[in-house]
């Protein structure tokens, strides 16, 4: 599909929001609280955050919730009845205000859930989501989308990408997919045709900091490097980086029982936790934090490209922002690039 470019007046956004609401869409949009910005179920347009560089959490929750039921069971006299989730119950969602580095992450997440077995729970959730990307007009020292193949105005992953043309300006809307077009059709008049649409000059500048292909090649011979131990000594082994990451997909499966009935729940997990890989015997294949930190980097920059043909990193920089001990992935990647193996 060719990308169709339209003008959306700055005061039309709220109208668009209301129209979507009238069409019983659930809208997830960024809101700020405690100095952090997160996606929440937006009841009204007011309060939607626009000034943030990046949300604290990624938007992956929408298709890969932090905790979701995968089945219900109940025991009865006759035996057992088990019910999967009804995909029809999944609401139609508009994901509003997603940055390009999150939007592209959806594709990376999708490769994990579809590289071999197709995860229909994930796919169904995703199929109900329309992504409203918002280009970045500013960036910070953590951003490195351009180093991993993205850019502040990247259309990949978005159904519609909005770029604000100047501070307090109107928006350029790029309608990228059929899904996007369907939404546009609900509010045709808000998407005006215009000749004076420009975007590049309004986009943030994010310098390229490393070459990800080179990193990948280096990592092939980097497994035994002492670098991992030195770089990860201060890592405390929490899951903050994984949980804010748009592409981390490790999960756990847990049962929650209440007498005769209960549910099986899929919930996020992190390769950074020391118990993640531990066997019941007590043996732990990744027994030290350096092995777990290495796993995180290798998985994103070596294993995923090799097995799934995508990189597991969008350069959003969230993990570095979230890390309580300043484990900065960009810094480490640059140092890997600089080290001679």
């Amino acid at each position: 599909m060719n990308i169709d470019k339209r003008l959306v007046r700055k005061d039309s956004l709220e109208k668009l929001f209301d129209i979507l609401k009238q069409n019983s869409k659930t809208i997830y949009a960024p809101f700020s609280k405690n100095g952090k910005t997160s996606f929440m179920d937006a009841k009204s347009f007011a309060g939607i955050s626009t000034g943030h560089i990046q949300t604290s959490e990624s938007s992956k929750d929408i298709a890969f919730p932090r905790a979701e039921k995968i089945l219900d069971y109940s025991k009865n006299k006759e035996g057992m009845s088990v019910k999967g989730i009804d995909f029809a119950d999944i609401p139609e969602v508009v994901l509003w205000g997603v940055r390009p580095c999150d939007a592209i992450g959806i594709g990376e997440l999708s490769s994990i859930f579809n590289w071999d077995y197709k995860d229909e729970i994930y796919n169904n959730r995703l199929s109900k989501v329309t992504v409203f990307g918002f280009s970045c007009n500013k960036s910070d020292e953590y951003c490195f989308c351009t180093s991993v193949g993205g850019n502040p105005g990247n259309t990949a992953g978005s159904d519609i990408l909005f770029t604000r043309m100047g501070e307090d300006g109107d928006y350029l809307a790029e309608i990228i997919t059929e899904k996007g077009l369907t939404v546009v059709s609900l509010a045709q008049n808000l998407f005006e045709k215009s000749e004076t649409l420009e975007r590049e000059k309004f986009l943030a500048e994010v310098p390229v900091r490393f070459n990800h292909e080179e990193i990948r090649k280096k990592l092939d011979k980097f497994f035994e490097s002492k670098e991992w131990i030195e770089e990860s000594l201060r890592c405390l082994g929490c899951g903050a980086c994984a949980y804010v990451c748009p592409t981390c997909a490790c999960f756990d499966i847990q049962d929650e029982a209440h007498g005769k009935k209960g549910s099986r729940v899929r919930c996020w997990d992190s390769c950074g936790f020391s118990h993640f890989t531990v066997h019941t015997s007590g043996h732990n294949p990744r027994g030290v934090q350096s092995a777990r930190w290495r796993q995180r980097i290798m998985h994103k920059f070596s294993y995923m490209p090799e097995r799934l043909s995508v990189y597991g990193c969008t350069g959003c920089g969230r993990c570095s922002r979230a890390c309580p001990v300043d484990m900065n992935i960009l810094e480490h990647l640059i140092s890997i690039q600089e080290v001679t193996v």
Binding site: Y28, D61, A67, I90, E256, G262, S263
Partner: protein, 149 residues
């Protein structure tokens, strides 16, 4: 609609309150049947997590009871318990868990009548408070579809 019958779980120690409740029985003192007793060796053994679990699973009220200070069969289990209760109850209150629904008491093996009175008073007050829907709403997670941020 039938009157609301609160579910009340009692966590009691073996040596004082359990025996006290036995005495209530041998004295044939009647009390409300909403309460179910779970026997512990000592109030010192009562894990505060069990109280939360009782609310999780739908209890409307909780009674925790053991030996009076200085009467503990194990000399100090109840003293330890008391210190924990002070802090736990305060934390519950601080997080907004309804502390009126948790009754703490000392009931000795000789206080059969007191046990009946405690149960009846608790049932009455929980009946007035109604079902603990706030907690149940949080706990009934599996009925809910997705958790988002």
């Amino acid at each position: 609609m039938a009157e609301f019958e609160p579910k009340i779980v009692a966590f009691v120690c073996n040596w004082c309150t359990y025996a006290g409740a036995d005495l209530t029985g041998t004295s044939r003192i009647k009390y409300a049947s909403n309460v179910r007793i779970i026997r512990f060796p000592c109030t010192g053994r009562i894990d505060y997590m069990l109280l939360l679990k009782a609310f999780d699973e739908g209890a409307d009220g909780i009674i925790v009871s053991g030996c009076h200070p200085n009467d503990c069969h194990y000399t100090s289990g109840n003293f330890h318990a008391r210190r924990r209760w002070i802090m736990f109850r305060s934390l519950c209150d601080f997080t907004g868990i309804n502390t009126e629904r948790i009754k703490f008491s000392w009931v000795s093996a000789a206080e059969g009548a007191k046990w009946a009175a405690i149960v009846n008073a608790t049932v009455t007050s929980i009946r007035e408070l109604g079902p603990y829907t706030e907690y149940k709403k949080v706990a009934k997670y599996p009925e809910k579809e997705v958790t988002h941020g």
